[in-house]
């Protein structure tokens, strides 16, 4: 396995792990409040739909000419990667809230309790919420798996990396019997964004006909370059916003315990960025 293939497998693993943590929170919230059978049925149906998507589109993609594939796939990866990166920068800068699984779990559980039961048999609400949640969280990962696998002609490797991530997250969730709130999701999302953006830039450039200096070795400059840019943007944005808000970032005296916990978790991840 080449270095680039290993980096791609790690990127798919991390992307899938992050989305699996979020999907797990939804399933846990619905399972504990509305019952496990309908929640797991909805989850299973979504997993089958995602697997069918990968199995159906994978061979079709790998049959495309490599240059065409690299422009399409590289462009899509670049757009997905920049979405992840943009969100991570806004979170680090403090413009956007940090993602917190405990808050998500609480909100999802409250919504599930508020929704009336429909009687015996399949719980339509739990089924639908789990199906939709897992499908939406998994859809982007499915496209990342397809993109990376088809482009490197190693669809099996990408699927294996994604499958391993799901197994690890589900096992950790089953052991903890709680949302995986201690996973540094926001940092992982930044890393995934950096990797997807870097590979997307490399492949779309190659697909458009450009030759990178050093060929694949150019990635050794592109990946740290993207990371440094993201870091610098977050730091610059945060400094500008803090100066503009004139100390408005302090947590107020009326903040509740849950919000304070979320604030602490967010702050602990945010400390990575120089102010």
């Amino acid at each position: 396995m080449s270095g680039a293939e290993l980096a791609l497998a790690v990127s798919v693993f991390l992307a899938c792990a992050v989305e699996a943590v979020e999907a797990l929170t939804i399933v846990l919230a619905l399972g504990t409040t509305r019952g496990w059978s309908s929640s797991l049925a909805g989850t299973g149906a979504a997993v089958v739909a995602l697997a069918a998507l990968v199995a159906g589109l994978g061979p079709a993609l790998t049959s495309l000419p490599l240059d065409v594939l690299r422009v399409i796939i590289g462009g899509l990866l670049l757009m997905f990667g920049l979405q992840w990166l943009r969100k991570a920068i806004l979170r680090w800068a403090g413009v956007k809230e940090m993602h917190d699984e405990l808050v998500e779990f609480r909100e999802e559980s409250e919504a599930a309790r508020a929704h009336g039961r429909t009687g015996p048999g399949l719980d339509g609400y739990a089924f639908a919420v789990c199906f939709k949640g897992v499908l939406l969280e998994g859809l982007e990962v499915a496209f990342i798996v397809l993109s990376v696998g088809a482009n490197q002609r190693h669809l099996g490797l990408a699927v294996a990396a994604a499958g391993l991530a799901v197994v690890v997250v589900v096992a950790a969730g089953a052991a903890a019997r709680a949302p995986l709130a201690r996973v540094p999701e926001n940092t992982l999302k930044l890393l995934v964004g950096v990797m997807l953006t870097s590979f997307g830039m490399f492949w779309s450039g190659e697909g458009a006909g450009a030759s990178w200096p050093g060929d694949e070795a150019a990635l050794l400059a592109i990946i740290p370059g993207v990371l440094v840019c993201a870091w610098a943007m977050a730091a610059r944005l945060r400094r500008a916003l803090v100066a503009a808000s004139d100390g408005a970032t302090t947590v107020g005296p009326g903040t509740g315990a849950g919000d304070r916990q979320a604030a602490d978790a967010a702050e602990s991840e945010r400390l990575v960025v120089p102010r």
Partner: protein, 84 residues
């Protein structure tokens, strides 16, 4: 017909995310690389220049729209349906 329109809209939102201008900018940058390569110029440098510029424009606009940082727990922006 409305079904097709809705599906196309969902695909567009899925690809473009929260800032469609960023997606359009990326597509234009890739097109520019192809154009320059067609003029016998090895424009590998175009994307490393365009991507950070487009990203900075996008995050700056988002910061201007949402204002200064709020307390960490506060919900500052709406999440997209397929939030990464």
């Amino acid at each position: 017909m409305s079904c097709i329109t809705r599906a196309a809209g969902a695909v567009w939102r899925f690809v473009a995310g929260e800032d469609w201008r960023l997606a359009v900018g990326i597509a234009a940058a890739i097109g520019l690389v192809a154009l320059l390569v067609g003029m016998s110029l090895n424009a590998w440098w175009a994307l490393p220049v365009a991507v950070p510029v487009l990203l900075w424009i996008s995050v700056s606009r988002a910061a201007r729209q949402h204002g200064p940082p709020s307390p960490a727990g506060a919900r500052a922006t709406a999440e997209s349906p397929h939030e990464p």
